[in-house]
């Protein structure tokens, strides 16, 4: 075998090894956590609009911190501590948090009412999840697209209990993402050493 053939084979081996973990498959526990938060949080504008803002303030920060912990625990279990990827995730969701606060700001300052602003939260969430699906974790893409569809329904038709149904649909897509990731994880989980 010529040196160039040998180098080609070596590079093919390296490329295959890298491709085996090219995209983070996501953390099932985080998907299940947010499925629950979304299910409750999206129903609140329909069922108890007065507590929706407080719920999202607490669940947003608390869920974010819990997601960070679950992500770290998953990294230890899977044997890959990717600091750069962790920073990308953190920055993505931090920007999302800032966007949500930006949407809430006119309401907090009394320059807009919640009813007129609520749909914008759905649009920001749809963008965040879709972009996370494109750049970070593919299973989130479907949740993002469900939210885009929910936004369109809210803006065009505004049927009764639209937020509740949007929450149910999004929660189902997140549970599905969690289950499919869990199956993929079981097939590739390392032992300990």
């Amino acid at each position: 075998m010529s040196p160039s053939d040998s180098i080609k084979q070596d590079l093919q081996y390296v490329a295959n090894a890298v491709r085996r973990r090219d995209r983070s498959p996501g953390v099932p526990a985080i998907y299940f956590l947010w499925a629950f938060i979304v299910l409750v949080g999206f129903a609140l504008p329909d069922l108890a609009p007065k507590v929706a803002g407080s719920f999202w303030l607490v669940a947003g920060f608390g869920g974010g911190l819990l997601s960070w912990y679950l992500g770290h625990r998953d990294a230890l279990k899977n044997g890959v501590i990717d600091g750069e990827l962790g920073r990308r995730h953190g920055f993505h969701w931090l920007v999302g948090g800032v966007a949500f606060l930006g949407v809430a700001l006119p309401v907090v300052m009394g320059r807009a009412d919640m009813a007129a602003t609520a749909n914008s939260f759905m649009l920001v969430a749809a963008l965040l999840y879709t972009l996370a699906g494109v750049h970070l974790e593919r299973p989130l893409l479907w949740s993002g697209l469900v939210m885009f569809a929910a936004y369109a329904v809210l803006v065009v038709y505004n049927p009764p209990h639209a937020w509740t149904f949007a929450g149910i649909a999004t929660a189902i897509s997140l549970v599905w993402a969690g289950v499919s990731t869990q199956r993929a994880d079981r097939a590739s989980a390392p032992g300990m050493d």
Binding site: I7, A17, R21, N78, I81, D82, G83, S188, M192, D193
Partner: protein
């Protein structure tokens, strides 16, 4: 050995280990075994060579009360990998002999 190539990284398994560490940060022994489809003995030997050459740093830890060995690329390993990849690129970019 080809010009500019690093003797340690000329081995495909050690090159893959260095590339994966450069890409992901810290990786456990068990994950490497799965990722590279190597036996304990073979992987251990490659790791020892990289460690002896100062290319990787080792950290022992416990996860769920079980021992885990973590590896990350040391500065010397990163420099060697950069040099090796540069040499590889030069070889790939070079016109074929007789052209």
């Amino acid at each position: 050995m080809l010009e500019g190539f690093d003797a340690t990284l000329e081995h495909r398994h050690r090159l893959a280990i260095a590339v994966l560490l450069a890409r992901h940060g810290e990786i456990s022994f068990a994950r490497f075994k799965l990722q590279l489809d190597l036996t304990d003995g073979n992987l251990g030997a490659q790791m020892k060579r990289l460690e002896d050459d100062g290319y990787i740093a080792v950290r022992k830890d416990f996860v769920d009360r079980k021992p885990v060995t973590w590896y990350r690329l040391a500065p010397a390993g990163r420099k060697a990998l950069d040099r090796h990849m540069k040499a590889l690129r030069s070889l790939i970019d070079a016109p074929p002999a007789g052209a």
